[in-house]
């Protein structure tokens, strides 16, 4: 493995991060960085530690070793709580959909913007002008976001009633409501049909164009290869390769991790 060159313009820098669960090292000494404005794919076979790494970045799990830096101001993410990390500009979606099932679609997106709004108990009680304005802006922004994802006609539906593909999209909309600089997508295309996947790719490209950097976990090579600028490959918690999608596709170590060595165990 060649030494990693960490440039100063990177938005997210993961440095020597190690996360253990008891004796199992879920993520071991992983280092990589996400450049501003890129779409970075994080791939690897099942159990490679991709989601664990996401959890470390979003404050759901404290890494035992290593540091995670974010933004120009070099915020150390692994000292912050999840809600502070959102406020700093990192939003995420979940592999298993975790919407607020019994709230309306609109309310889901409005909750997503929690860190961007200020009103508290007194604001709710007295309803001064700024609170009303804030609420109004929030609603119209939520509608805009839903419109972008083609969900506006479902605004008042209960989230649970949406179809699977729509729920996936709503997760992304909810994460975007916090106006993040970095968006972490955990298998956004899981369970989608080829047509939906194609749509999703277009959406992700548009999101990137609007100035959001994206770190993406995905299994499906057909999804990850056309969209990523840079791909990081994990296997058994270790980074085994990193580079342009084209090179990754030809990397023998990656092929081995995904397909095995092709040698039949002959000790009979």
């Amino acid at each position: 493995m060649k030494p990693n060159t960490l440039s100063q313009s990177s938005l997210l820098r993961v440095e020597n991060v190690t996360k253990r669960f008891g004796g199992v090292t879920a993520v071991g000494n992983v280092t990589f960085s996400v450049e501003l404005g890129q779409i970075v794919g994080l791939i690897g076979p099942n159990g490679a530690g991709k989601t664990t790494l996401f959890n470390c970045v979003t404050g759901l799990g404290l890494p035992e070793e290593g540091n995670i830096y974010f933004g120009d101001s070099e915020t150390l993410l692994n000292r912050l709580d999840p809600d502070q990390i959102v406020a700093a500009g990192v939003a995420r979606t979940f592999q298993t959909i975790r919407l607020f099932k019994h709230m309306s679609v609109l309310e889901n997106v409005m909750v997503g913007a929690h860190s961007k709004t200020r009103s508290g108990i007194l604001g709710a009680l007295l309803r001064p002008r700024w609170v009303l304005v804030e609420e109004k802006k929030l609603v119209s922004r939520a509608h805009q976001l839903l419109h972008f994802f083609g969900l506006d006609h479902k605004s008042y539906e209960i989230a649970r009633n949406l179809s699977y593909g729509h729920q996936r999209k709503l997760e992304i909309a909810r994460a975007l409501a916090s106006q993040p600089k970095l968006l972490l997508l955990d298998e956004p295309a899981a369970g989608m049909n080829p047509k939906e996947k194609e749509e999703l790719l277009d959406l992700i490209r548009t999101i990137r164009k609007s100035g959001v950097t994206i770190l993406l976990i995905e299994h499906d090579m057909k999804v990850i290869m056309p969209i990523s600028d840079h791909v990081v490959v994990l296997d058994y918690g270790k980074k085994i390769a990193e580079g342009k999608p084209k090179d990754i596709q030809r990397n023998p170590e990656v092929i081995e991790a995904y397909l095995g060595t092709g040698t039949y165990p002959s000790h009979a």
Partner: protein
């Protein structure tokens, strides 16, 4: 459109929940539905206002005052259990703290009711937040056990701290509310308390409705639905839980002060574990997370034992039986889960306002 409507009906109750006025932010707020709900609310308040003028039976009014106090408690607990989704089995402790705060402030410092009311509210809110602290790190059943424990601790302390709380005998000679300097004293009649409780319940409902449709209300719901996802959306769970306990405590404090001033005496056995369970049963019976439901649950569970008095010894048996039947046929509570209902209401709203989405 037709297919759509059927989809949403599947989980929705069959009756139209018109009684509940739900503020919807945004441009799709349907004026006709709101007006209709406003008129219903007006009628209910007017009817409530007229009851003591029509019904001169002091016993009836007295029962209604007790029901009103329980209504406040149910509304307060609904914030903690229904909205924020934290099972609290020690709510009577906050009620007790409200009562004793007013009792002590009035007996020792001669603080009048109208001031003592707010002192009680704030002190119960404060204790509510203290009670929340051990609960912050826990979830689910464990919170229930901790709140159960703290609830009992408060009652046992009141029972044993004789020099301050008077022990099992409690505190006597608490002033009834009065107006002006020489003026009108509430005394032991029920009507003035009835109007006091009515006013306070209306005030609390207005406050809770406002919070429900605010950023804080949404944060509570999100916390209840999925704490982990909520924190990943920028909600600070500590802030959300503390504010739920604080507001729940505040309301319990108000109820406690009214209770103490009406009784003229407080003693620890009024704040038994059974009271916590009873208030919880009211919230669950009415429909978790539903403001109107909590009030209806409180009314039903306060009036039912009185209505069943004719059955003498079998009263409590029938009461229990009624609750079991209720839970068998409507496990989501009388007014149902708020969200099913909203779902239905939104359909109504869209149809009536003819809003194109």
């Amino acid at each position: 459109m037709r297919k759509n409507r059927e989809d949403t009906r599947r989980g929705a109750p069959l009756w139209a929940p018109d009684l509940i006025r739900r503020r919807r932010p945004g441009r799709h707020r349907g004026p006709p539905l709101q007006l209709k709900n406003g008129i219903y609310c007006g009628f209910i308040i007017l009817a409530a206002f007229l009851i003591p003028l029509v019904d001169r039976n002091a016993y009836h009014i007295d029962v209604l005052v007790t029901a009103g106090i329980f209504m406040m408690l149910a509304l307060g607990l609904n914030v903690i259990v229904g909205s924020a989704g934290i099972l609290n089995l020690g709510y009577a402790a906050l009620f007790a703290i409200g009562s004793y705060t007013y009792a002590l402030a009035n007996i020792h410092l001669h603080i009048p009711f109208w001031v003592g009311l707010w002192i009680s509210a704030f002190s119960a809110a404060f204790f509510g937040m203290i009670l929340a602290f051990p609960a912050l790190r826990l979830s689910g059943d464990y919170i229930a056990m901790v709140t159960l424990g703290t609830g009992e601790i408060v009652r046992i302390v009141l029972n044993n701290l004789d020099p301050i709380t008077g022990g099992p005998n409690g505190l006597l000679g608490i002033d009834h509310p009065a107006f002006g300097i020489a003026g009108y004293n509430f005394g032991v009649r029920s009507e003035p308390y009835y109007y006091l409780v009515l006013g306070l319940v209306i005030l609390i409902v207005v406050v809770l409705k406002r919070i429900e449709s605010s950023r804080l209300g949404r944060a509570w719901l999100a916390l209840r639905e999925d704490e982990l996802a909520a924190s990943c959306m920028g909600i600070n769970p500590v802030w959300a839980k503390l504010s739920a306990f604080g507001i729940g405590g505040f309301i319990a404090g108000i109820a406690g002060a009214v209770f103490a001033s009406k009784q003229g005496t407080v003693s620890p056995d009024s704040f038994d574990f059974v009271v916590s369970v009873m208030v919880l049963a009211m919230v669950v019976l009415g429909g978790l997370g539903n403001i109107a439901g909590a009030m209806l649950g409180a009314l039903v569970l306060s009036l039912l034992p009185e209505l069943l008095r004719g059955f003498d010894l079998y009263r409590m048996l029938l009461f229990g039986f009624a609750m079991i039947v209720m839970m068998l046929f409507r496990p989501q509570g009388i007014l149902g889960e708020i969200h099913y209902q909203e779902e239905f209401e939104n359909k109504l709203l869209k149809r009536e306002s003819g809003a194109k989405l």
